[in-house]
């Protein structure tokens, strides 16, 4: 097989299987990443070496290759990888792969073998993820940004409206944030923003979503949550923020440490999706109105707005 000279130097994995899924060819790239020599695996069932490869999806794909000569394009986004090879790049512990499978035909067009081509896309996937993070997250606090929040709110709103499920919103704002900044400096202000974000995150469930809405204003989407439960969540956040220490320690050039500490409170407004809420802007406006009321009534409190 003179083509081997090419197959063994290309920067991609190449595996050829017969109809019984026995390995017929295993190129050097595969050896390099799996540590298994071509001579050792050829003739064996792929399953014996890689039982994890045999997912429902793989089964369906390889069947469709042999049965109707399909080409299968296996995306990294959906499947991460086919062969688990170690590789450490930023957030990934395994090599991320983009995989193509297809038929190999004999002269009479009958399908006798299938090929699998594996490309390493770990770097691209990591880069992609980083770009995505930058796009949807707030750089300072690490919670979602306003733009992403708005698109998610719209999706959740539509979904809950369609299925008539409860959906609540909490909007909150740090009390007297301007004077915190003025008194303790912007570095401390940033610390407070981060601290409160992480406190709020701890009080939320996995499916809830927290975003920095404006300067010192935050917003949470609580799917499948009625207003009474949302009020309880809001109250827990308020209480935790009120009682937490906000100790911020700095070390200056002469190695002396300074600890700044201040009591910080937040005001919260809660709203819920109901029959008459027709747009997500409406839902947002009601939470904002409630927040405004909380401010006016003396701050450090939770107010809910019944929707009229």
């Amino acid at each position: 097989m003179i083509y081997r000279q090419v197959f063994d130097v290309i920067n991609a994995g190449l595996v050829i299987l017969d109809k019984d899924l026995r390995v017929c060819y295993w190129n050097r790239w595969m050896t390099k990443h799996s540590g298994i020599d071509c001579g050792d695996i050829v003739g064996s069932q792929l399953r014996d070496f890689f039982p994890d490869v045999y997912t429902k999806y793989f089964d369906r794909s390889i069947k469709s290759v042999f049965k109707f000569g399909n080409f299968v394009f296996m995306s990294q986004k959906l499947h991460k990888y086919l062969f688990k090879f170690p590789k450490n790049v930023s957030c990934f512990q395994s090599m991320q792969q983009s995989v193509t499978m297809g038929p190999i035909r004999e002269r009479d067009n009958a399908i006798s073998h299938a090929f699998i081509v594996i490309q390493d896309v770990t770097e691209i996937a990591a880069y992609d993820r980083k770009i995505r993070e930058i796009n949807i997250k707030d750089g300072l606090t690490g919670v979602y940004n306003r733009r992403y929040f708005e698109s998610r709110l719209k999706d959740e709103f539509d979904r809950h409206k369609r299925y008539c499920h409860p959906l609540s919103l909490i909007m909150f704002d740090i009390d007297h944030f301007k004077s915190i900044n003025d008194t303790y400096g912007h570095q401390y202000g940033d610390f407070v923003l981060k601290k409160i974000s992480s406190t709020a995150i701890e009080m939320l469930r996995v499916n809830d979503m927290l975003a920095r809405y404006g300067g010192e204003e935050f917003c949470c989407i609580l799917p499948e949550t009625t207003i009474s439960s949302a009020m309880m969540v809001a109250e827990r956040i308020r209480k935790n923020v009120e009682t937490q220490d906000n100790n911020f320690t700095t070390i200056d050039a002469s190695a002396t440490t300074t600890t700044t500490s201040a009591k910080v409170t937040i005001s919260l407004g809660v709203s819920e999706l109901c029959e008459i809420t027709n747009t997500c802007e409406h839902l947002l406006k009601k939470a904002d109105d409630a927040l405004y009321t909380a401010k006016r009534e003396g701050r450090n409190r939770v107010v809910s707005m019944s929707l009229f």
Binding site: T55, K56, Y57, R60, K63, S64, K67, F68, G69, N70, F71, V72, F73, S75, K77, L78, H79, T100, G102, R105, N109, R132, I136, Y148, R152, N207, M209
Partner: protein, 215 residues
Amino acid sequence: MEINNDYTFSEIEVDTLQELMNIAFGQASADLAEVINVFIVLSVPSIKINKEESLTEFINSEIGDLKGYKIVEQSYWGKSRGVALLAFPHEAELELIAMFREDADTVVDAEMSDELDNEMLIEIGNILIGACVSKLAELLKDLVTFVPPRVISGEQLVEALVENRFESETSRVILLKTVFRINDRELSGHLFLLNNLDSIHTLKDALRAFWKQYE
């Protein structure tokens, strides 16, 4: 079989092509049932040689408003070349995805869900298109390979067709259409196969060869 050599199909040629599509899609349905456990009913296909009227206008008139549609687009290459378009309305798309997601071995990340839905649609489309096109090609003794599919929105269709050089003043296409229903549910979509007119002679030759077997 009467031979008609210009860029039109005779009645009998259209009839044969239609019969072959019927057979091909019937086999594709049976194979899909076996391989992915999905039962698909494909309607009697129709054929149209599209001339003056704009292709997008035609597709629009077939399925109503293209807005809100997702379309899986995949090019195929064999002796005849073309592009397959699989169009679903939004609700059908969601249901289809839910049906396949059950065994996708994947955890869905809300922040990526749109993109993952598209990826899922691409995989489903790849299987459906692959099965239908391969079977038709097989009957016509052709062998096709596929370019990875992509998802476009109904609104992007014109652009995509221009890219494929299907929508220009001189181009005409052979358009094969079928409507399918999945798992006895009210879940239907359209499959269009657009063959570039350069392939018309190849197609005519293949039809003639098919007739020859029975003469």
